[in-house]
Symmetry: C2
Subunit: 204 residues, 2 copies
């Protein structure tokens, strides 16, 4: 019998490898939830019942582990995007909803915004692709809102993405009570949305 191959010609993964990978992801999900994204990787390996070497072979560094973890959640965000695309009467509301979704997503684990920001900068991290994708989606929503007259023309999607990340980052501060979260959400929306006289001034 021929060995099973993946579509791109690589050999199928060994059964135990797949099992370990899943265990690690499960343990990591749990551990990061409890201790934030800076929790000990060795502790995750131990919790998963594998050696440190196994963990690092599957995920060479913290970022790639994080990326794998987030990949599982991508679906939810993509679904949200589709919901917003089809279900919103108002392009500005859709953009707003999308930015909220990103903010929530970036708050999945304590301390997550930091590596996400770093990834957005380096573009050579496993997280970078994910971020880039979401920036692109943000671009679509933004353009629609702009064409609709609901968003200022001098705003860039990348900056809105960063602002969403930043909101999530601030939220990590215990001080940022719920009121702060809401306040910053509104602050941000006021920042990009057009109001009656939307003649944006020159930025000085």
């Amino acid at each position: 019998m021929m060995q099973r191959t993946t579509t791109d010609g690589a050999r199928a993964p060994r059964a135990d490898a797949q099992r370990n990978r899943d265990r690690i992801l499960g343990a990591a999900e749990q551990y990061f939830s409890e201790h934030g994204v800076t929790g000990s990787l060795d502790a995750i390996a131990k919790r998963a019942g594998v050696g440190a070497g196994t963990l690092y072979r599957h995920f060479p560094n913290r970022e790639s582990l994080l990326a794998a973890l987030l990949a599982a959640r991508d679906d939810a965000l993509v679904a949200r995007r589709d919901d917003l695309r089809s279900g919103s009467v108002n392009a500005a509301d859709a953009l707003d909803g999308w930015l909220d979704a990103i903010t929530a997503w970036a708050g999945a684990f304590d301390g997550l915004p930091e590596p996400l920001r770093a990834a957005t900068a380096t573009s050579s991290s496993p997280l970078a692709m994910t971020c880039q994708g979401f920036i692109t989606t943000t671009e679509e929503f933004l353009r629609a809102a702009q064409d609709d007259g609901g968003a200022r023309r001098d705003v860039r999607a990348r900056d809105l993405f960063l602002a969403a990340l930043a909101r999530s980052w601030v939220r990590g501060a215990a001080l940022a009570d719920d009121a702060s979260a809401a306040a910053l959400a509104e602050l941000t929306r006021n920042g990009w949305a057009t109001t009656s006289a939307a003649r944006a001034g020159d930025g000085r």
Copy 2:
């Protein structure tokens, strides 16, 4: 001869202690500038030519070292505050200038916004007092701008402070080119300003 005492009766610090303290601060300033605020404390001790114990006696943890470092810069920020208080025609511009000053201040070292945010949350850190002071000042500027009709009434000083910190945090991302910094500045201002005052005058 009487021993020199400080005003509150404590004994004057020993000469070498003072010298070492200064050396540590100098080395830390340099090291943090080069490596960001997460740089190795032991390396700072070595660069300062003192033992690790000496460093930790003077500054029990990273935050207190940071706080001492920032205290030296407080003067500049206070001066800026006074400038803005007296020299601004427009209360909104003054607030804007103050928030810019805070953003710049929080960007003194790479990674500084993170401990500042944490300090703002815990209120039991040496950095917390500094932050609290600046929030209070922000409150003054904000109130003036609100009374002047230049800032929305539903904005809180604390949130503006956090937003300034967040801007500084985003700036740490290499991706955040200069355009992003300016864009976020404007985004923020549009967020809190009333529409009539949204257009920045000579905000400096």
